[in-house]
């Protein structure tokens, strides 16, 4: 029997990273994710890996860039203001087609804001975040088990598609304790890393770069990256469906908001309302097809987020033409987490 552990989301994430083969971690402390560097600083040296507490988030993402260019599995983690600092490096990694896992256990902002759970970094995560018009893979766990499983997946997807991937969580999934089954690393065919810098030996010179100045070179490079985003959309979109078959109203939410929304959906079912939940697990690629399919029949969607409305734009772009999309959200801050009762009231309002 596989053993079951009771642990914090942040720890499950760190444990999964190590199971996925991550041996290099570079970071800088910030609440509510500091359990991750703490875990890595304790465990990596035992495995012959390296933990570096960098002087800043700017340095840590660039250490990740360097390590990743040599082909090893490496990770950095932070929270909102720190992720803003990492954007320069994330853009360079995207430009240089470098894998690597970046964790954002979001806090509330803008600015210094607070340390409460928030989903206000959705735009920053899925719309590029840094300069240059790129995308990265974005996964949104809603449980401690998913903190574990999606982290492992994040490493594989990053290697498969040669691009950075991000775990977008918040202090609810990061700090809560739940039981988790620490699954073994799944077998997956990954392409050989024949592009890494290694000291050329008797081979050809290799250069990891994002500078393309020749005639038409950069455009060709960008089209290549964009084709890869298309492939991601076709193959890697993931979502959860809950009681959608006969639903008259589709509720959608991601991450910790989806947990509260699910309670509200179950309460609505108890009252006889035909309501279901569609939870995006990959935020990039966004599960567009799932939304289109769900709204072929059911024309009402209520999007719930811990912000003033961000994913709702992607939902609107994905649903059937004649579907109506409503939004309910609370900009984050102390005491602003919506209750299941509050969401049930919203569901009831839009259901009629």
């Amino acid at each position: 029997m596989t053993k079951r552990l009771f642990m914090k989301g942040n720890e499950a994430l760190a444990m999964a990273a190590i199971e996925a083969g991550c041996r290099y971690y570079f970071g800088y402390p910030i609440t509510p994710q500091s359990d991750i560097p703490e875990y890595m600083s304790r465990e990596l040296p035992k495995l012959g890996g390296e933990f570096i507490q960098a002087e800043s988030e700017v340095a840590s993402i660039n250490m990740l860039l360097g390590a990743s260019a040599t082909g090893v599995r490496a990770m950095t983690s932070s929270s909102s203001p720190g992720i803003s600092l990492k954007q320069e490096g994330i853009s360079y990694m995207a430009g240089a087609e470098l894998p690597g896992v970046i964790v954002n256990i979001c806090r509330s902002g803008p600015g210094l804001g607070g340390i409460d759970a928030s989903q206000a970094d959705y735009f920053q995560a899925v719309k590029g975040g840094g300069h240059g018009g790129y995308h990265i893979i974005v996964l949104a766990p809603a449980s401690v088990q998913e903190m574990y499983d999606l982290t492992m997946l994040a490493f594989d997807l990053a290697d498969l598609y040669r691009m950075p991937s991000m775990i977008l969580g918040d202090s609810v999934v990061g700090q809560m304790k739940e039981s988790v089954i620490p699954n073994k690393r799944p077998e997956r065919n990954l392409p050989p890393k024949d592009w890494v810098v290694r000291g050329k030996g008797d081979g050809e010179q290799r250069v990891v770069k994002s500078l393309y100045l020749g005639d038409g070179e950069l455009e060709a490079h960008n089209w290549k990256l964009h084709a890869r985003y298309g492939e991601l959309k076709a193959k890697e979109a993931r979502w959860e469906e809950f009681m959608l078959d006969d639903a008259e109203l589709v509720v959608t939410a991601f991450g910790s908001a989806a947990r509260i929304a699910k309670s509200a959906v179950m309460a609505a079912r108890d009252k006889g309302l035909k309501v279901g939940l569609l939870r995006p697990i990959t935020l990039y690629p966004f599960p567009e097809k799932a939304f289109l399919a769900a709204t072929e029949r059911c024309k009402k969607v209520l999007d719930i987020e811990l912000n003033a409305g961000q994913m709702v734009e992607d939902v609107r772009l994905s649903v059937a033409r004649d579907a109506e999309v409503f939004f309910y959200g609370r900009p984050p801050g102390a005491g602003s987490l919506p209750t299941p009762e509050e969401l049930l009231e919203q569901i009831t309002n839009y259901y009629v």
Partner: protein
């Protein structure tokens, strides 16, 4: 007949894009010669920075990672930690290393990362058209100090080789120039020494290379070369500021 002078194996046989009289090309050659002498070309990973030297992978026949502006020491840290057997160096200008990248260089040096940093100081931002750098001399006119650098307003030029020598993690720190044959020969010796520190795992080694930038100084190559030996050497003395272990 015996051949006494040839192109280093670590350099490609191509023309560089550097302006006439620029010392970047000379430093490329000295670095490549040191690489040849240590026989490290095949296990070298260079980290290119942003500035006139960004194309160094077009000239050096080695593996290279390109870093964002100023971040080369952090990128090199990641490379070296993941590949401790590789020979790792960064090559950075003064805008890159002494302005936007001050934090990265100080902390990589302080950690004693086992790498070599070649810091080319030409007292200006060459690539972007000759703006004021942290190393611009007091009174020097640049495109953003049209009245001359004013110490009261802009601060005094930073002496990086001396500053870094203060840090425990630094094993070797020296300032060199190539404005005359004697300095050039000495520069070659110091670069080799810096490389030997890394080859022997003795820690962080730093070479500040005083360099000309005729284009942005508005001088012909000969005048620019003279300025390195006079004005620049007067404020940035050549020499070794830290030599932690006897080599």
């Amino acid at each position: 007949m015996q051949q006494v002078f040839k192109k280093p194996v670590s350099l490609k046989d191509v023309q560089t894009h550097f302006c006439p009289g620029c010392h970047h090309g000379t430093f490329h050659r000295l670095v490549a010669e040191a690489m040849d002498e240590f026989g490290v070309q095949k296990r070298t990973i260079g980290v290119a920075s942003v500035g006139c030297s960004v194309f160094l992978y077009g000239y050096f026949d080695i593996d290279v990672v390109e870093a964002p502006h100023g971040r080369a020491p952090a990128v090199a840290t990641g490379v070296k930690r993941a590949r401790p057997d590789a020979f790792v160096f960064t090559y950075q200008g003064d805008g890159d290393l002494a302005a936007i990248g001050t934090s990265e260089i100080i902390h990589a040096a302080n950690r004693g990362e086992d790498m070599t940093v070649i810091f080319v100081n030409n007292t200006t931002y060459g690539m972007t058209g000759g703006q004021m750098a942290p190393t611009t001399l007091v009174g020097q006119r640049t495109s953003t100090s049209p009245y001359g650098r004013n110490q009261g307003k802009d601060g005094a030029p930073i002496r990086m080789a001396e500053l870094l020598a203060q840090l425990e993690g630094v094993a070797f720190s020296a300032r060199v120039a190539v404005n005359n044959p004697k300095n050039l020969m000495d520069a070659k010796r110091q670069i080799k020494k810096a490389f030997r520190y890394q080859a022997e795992g003795k820690g962080f080694s730093f070479i500040e290379a005083l360099s000309s930038c005729p284009t942005n100084w508005g001088m012909d190559p000969i005048k620019a070369n003279e300025r390195v030996g006079t004005e620049m050497c007067a404020y940035f003395p050549l020499g070794v500021f830290k030599n932690a272990a006897d080599l």
